[in-house]
Subunit: 315 residues, 2 copies
Amino acid sequence: MTLPTINDVRVAAGRIKGIAVRTPLLRNDALDEATGAKVWVKAECLQRGGAFKMRGATNAIAALAPELRKRGVLAFSSGNHAIAVSTAAKLFGISAVIVMPADAPKIKLDTTRANGAEVVTYDRVKESREAIGAKLAGERGLSLIKPFDDPNVIAGQGTAGLEIGEEISPDIVFVPASGGGLASGVSLALPNARIIACEPAGHDDIARSFASGKRERNAPGIRSICDGLLTEEMGDITYEIAKARFERVVVMPDDATRRAMKFAFLRLKIVLEPSGALPLASLLEGGVDVKGKTVAVVASGGNVDAETFISALNS
Amino acid sequence: MTLPTINDVRVAAGRIKGIAVRTPLLRNDALDEATGAKVWVKAECLQRGGAFKMRGATNAIAALAPELRKRGVLAFSSGNHAIAVSTAAKLFGISAVIVMPADAPKIKLDTTRANGAEVVTYDRVKESREAIGAKLAGERGLSLIKPFDDPNVIAGQGTAGLEIGEEISPDIVFVPASGGGLASGVSLALPNARIIACEPAGHDDIARSFASGKRERNAPGIRSICDGLLTEEMGDITYEIAKARFERVVVMPDDATRRAMKFAFLRLKIVLEPSGALPLASLLEGGVDVKGKTVAVVASGGNVDAETFISALNS
């Protein structure tokens, strides 16, 4: 297994330029006062498509050999990865087939279709998305764009970290982790920073993996409002990088995440989805000593429906 | 009367550097698709203090002679100007007295006090804030920082336009107008852009002034959710600039503003207060032909309470 390096992240940065946007790194007085640190928020909610996923999808498609790329791409996703791959495919002028569960959020199905992708739905309980995908890929010569366990996807997500490092030299970075594409990519891009991986309670496989020394899985069926962080387990590549680079894992309950969404609303004036607010919750309530440090928080996305957002504002 | 010029805006930009932040100019695919234009949103909700007012307050305080400045400043305000002046004064290490109505929003009273300002409250009905302010200013030698009708305040607000012009060359700019400090400053900074001033229904004094050819006032007591745009009339300076530079005035009802707040939530992932969303409402529903144009929208602030925001999300 070849692990991606910071050089792959640098190559990715060149490839995604003009497609993914360079998101702002926000400063906020209230956040500094609340933590005693100098805090910068990488606002990936302001990324094209509303989440960091555009970075990896764009890099993975750009990295395909032209003759393969023109045949089109395939992805499995119920959420932001579907939107990211379909958006990137549209910008490259190629076709995309996205295999999505029939019960995926309607807004995500609609957005993916609006991007011109062919959406193939399946029944989560009765059908295998892998079998559907393999059949389609074989028939049409489509290239699979994995959601996280791929060197080009990891390097693409890492460009968020590279951009942070071009503006500041963080001592500590809070970043959400589930499949681990973003957190591992950012850790490669910022080799001198202490990486705090953030997980929602009930999906704390990385914390348990660090405790047991072997890769753990999440039990099926446990819910969290952090709908972007419900992967069953890390990938082979992301787990290797995590072991080498994550200093620790902070596990936060949903109510802390809701309070962080509200803080972002009241103080930062940005809309964060639960998964995007989890690192902020981890900074504010996770018990990590950050006093006097330069801290970066990766606010990974803002794709949240009004109902969930209102429940956070009322919390 | 000497009107400020683009050179004053350039001087202001140098003075506010490192105090007010350079806010991002956001791009969004959905906004382009909805309008047929290439739209950029100047996200002043991400400004220090959550609104553009920091720019003018900082420039006005920086412009004071040092021996005057050290005696402290005075402002009248029930809202964002109070927060801006108190924040800027704190950063300059000088004292600030803010005369605020006793029934001002508690969060704004608290924030102003938390910035270290001395808050003097008065009864809107029974007392004159001008008399209270004049007495305090005379006794202590405080300099009054006006909310809009001051060349340094106008030049300071104009730095938002200067930053837009450093990144794009907009054909059309949508900007909120009430006292007119921001809109007139931005118009000075972008001399080649068509300026569309945006007003809330019920407070359409500028539209009526343009129709009648003389400066009109708003009737007292008419409410709008755009609480940052309820000034009785324009100032002498801002009205002169408006006559020369505003191409037209768009007047929007509150329900269109609520829909724009919701659009900003769903698509832009930023929190806008009603006054900050009004220019977006004017772009989306104001009937201005923008097809094929490069458009800038000044989203002036994000200081909104949860209740008002929820009412917009439910609209």
